[in-house]
């Protein structure tokens, strides 16, 4: 963990000022905003109004922040059921932008922004980049996909807003990404962490030394990643890697960001009110306990989200951060409640498998988890690409590697998993979120 030096503390970006608002003032602001947004949603959103009525709740019943816990939850299913515009709280005349998620099952979900909402979004992205140490003069290569996905435009507006020069390269075309990184002298890059790993691999093949580039900051998000991935990225390049958190339903990227302390992500609480709940009972849990993150948008008018269940598992960190920000932090997301695989009755998270691969091999190979069902029994196979570091001309060495991986996984997970070494470049590379799990159990 790198703590900011006293000198660095003196160079905080002016855009970060709202991050340091005294806590009592922040709570007062949150309450005022939550009262206003609940009144707005009750007046304008049919589904929300019905739910308030069935609970005998009126917006005026929200007298303290604790009362937020009485409000009904909103889920992804609500967004699907009201597709496309059913949760809009303003008329289309006031909407200046829509985005949509690539729904993995069925219809996508659609989100909307007023002009003011886009300004709020830009402001939290500017504050995010400021926390990562970006400023005027930086050259930001934005490799998040532009389009319906919020990542591209969200990062674009934020980078322009902080006064950096933006390279709007979007996702994909890896060789061109590397050429542009090198030739344009980008000092920062935004993309998914798995895509950045792919860039590192490909750059090595092309003979481009990432350590020799002016690139110094990476802002990675849109999927959960681990501390070990950070160590891998930071040792293969000379960048400092920051985790950014966000989701389209709330606003897009810019809900929470790491500061240079890299000890949790500060939630922009003046715009997003966080709660941690027990995912099974829905009960609100105290700070420090792990559970599902629930967010309420405090200043989003086109489509307010009241107590949106993110499915992301984390905990709010109690106590102040060394950087001095008063914004509460959440632990980085290691897993999503819907990421969990249940294999022969055992809960398995892909992040656990990833940690074992990294521990045994020293670097993170490309891998894929394949689930099948044979004779009613779940079967798991982890396909792992052979890397130059582990490859040997001796059969015994490779068999020992397979066995060590399977043994370590068994120790961590409690179940035996079949390991298959596969040829390099055979597992499909992602240009956005990595597809780590192929579940064929429904087909067999």
């Amino acid at each position: 963990m790198t703590l900011p030096s006293p000198d660095r503390q003196l160079t905080y970006h002016p855009a970060s000022a709202p991050d340091f608002v005294p806590t009592p003032l922040l709570r007062k602001l949150q309450l005022e905003r939550v009262q206003a947004i609940v009144a707005h949603a009750t007046e304008r959103v049919e589904l929300f109004r019905q739910r308030m009525q069935s609970r005998n709740l009126a917006p005026t019943d929200i007298k303290s922040l604790d009362d937020v816990g009485r409000l009904p939850f909103t889920t992804k299913a609500d967004l699907r059921d009201t597709y496309p515009f059913g949760l809009f709280a303003t008329s289309m005349r006031d909407v200046v932008r829509v985005h949509a998620s690539s729904g993995t099952t069925g219809k996508p979900i659609v989100v909307a922004y007023t002009k003011q909402d886009v300004e709020v979004w830009t402001s939290v992205m500017v504050r995010s980049f400021a926390a990562c140490g970006l400023h005027e003069g930086d050259i930001v290569q934005n490799a998040y996909g532009y389009g319906l996905f919020t990542g591209g435009l969200g990062a674009h507006y934020g980078a322009e807003g902080i006064g950096a020069a933006v390279i709007p390269i979007s996702g994909g075309n890896t060789d061109r990404q590397i050429m542009v990184l090198k030739d344009f002298g980008a000092t920062a890059i935004c993309c998914t962490p798995t895509y950045f790993l792919h860039l590192i691999d490909r750059a090595a093949q092309l003979g481009v030394d990432f350590k020799a580039l002016p690139l110094r900051v990476g802002v990675f998000g849109a999927e959960p990643w681990t501390e070990s991935m950070r160590r891998h990225i930071e040792s293969a390049t000379s960048i400092q890697a920051f985790d950014i958190y966000g989701l389209s339903e709330i606003i897009g990227p810019g809900v929470a960001i790491e500061c240079p302390c890299h000890d949790g992500l500060h939630i922009f609480e003046d715009h997003f009110y966080p709660e941690i709940i027990d995912p099974d009972t829905g009960a609100v849990l105290p700070d420090g306990q792990e559970g599902e993150l629930v967010l309420t948008t405090l200043s989003k008018w086109a489509m307010p989200m009241i107590r949106y269940r993110t499915r992301d598992i984390t905990a709010l960190i109690h106590g102040p951060c060394t950087c001095g920000r008063s914004l509460r932090r959440m632990r980085r997301i290691g897993r999503r409640s819907d990421d969990m695989l249940i294999i022969r009755g055992v809960n398995v998270y892909p992040s656990q498998i990833e940690a074992v691969l990294l521990e045994v091999e020293g670097t993170l190979p490309h891998y894929q988890i394949i689930l099948t069902r044979e004779h009613g029994l779940d079967q798991v196979e982890v396909q792992v690409e052979v890397t130059a570091q582990v490859f040997s001309d001796r059969v015994g060495t490779l068999e020992a590697l397979e066995e060590k991986l399977a043994d370590t996984l068994e120790r961590v997970l409690g179940i035996r998993i079949k390991i298959t070494l596969v040829e390099p470049q055979t597992i499909q590379r992602s240009e956005g979120k990595a597809k780590r799990v192929i579940d064929k159990r429904g087909q067999t």
Binding site: Q205, V386, A388
Partner: protein
């Protein structure tokens, strides 16, 4: 006297040995000797080629993981006891033979054994001490 051998990881599936060989052919690289070690899931293709440096480049560019290893080549006499004589050179040493393979040499009347030792330098010394001469790389590619 050490000879560079290249090893390539290949899945145990049809066509997975042919593909790297085709790349070498397209680049006019001659394969002098070849052996495949296979298990249920994967295989290791081991080759001795005319231009190992270029072979590594073209294979890596095609996405293969290539591992260079030093091996020793010994000509074996085509009569009973020929192999035993060579192996006896290691009897009182701690040198381990990891694996070996043979291929015909010249016009099919002679044979060369390729040895992969855990310590090729010590093995070369032991062979020379026993009066067994090693085949140099250039000899393998003389026709």
């Amino acid at each position: 006297m050490k000879i560079p051998q290249l090893s390539i990881f290949a899945e145990n599936k049809p066509g997975h040995i042919a593909a790297p060989c085709r790349i070498l052919a397209e680049n006019r690289i001659d394969i002098r000797a070849l052996s495949v070690a296979d298990t249920q899931h994967f295989g290791i293709l081991r080759i001795i080629v005319s231009d190992p440096k270029r072979a590594t480049e073209v294979l890596e560019a095609a996405g293969y993981v290539v591992k260079p290893t030093d091996v020793l080549a010994v000509e074996v006499e085509d009569r009973p006891g020929g192999l035993a004589k060579i192996l006896s050179a290691f009897e009182r040493t701690t040198i381990n033979i990891e694996y070996m393979y043979a291929f015909p040499f010249g016009h099919g009347e002679r044979a060369v054994l390729i040895f992969r030792f855990d310590d090729p330098d010590a093995a070369a010394q032991a062979l020379q001490a026993a009066g067994i001469s090693l085949v140099a790389k250039h000899e393998l590619f003389e026709h």
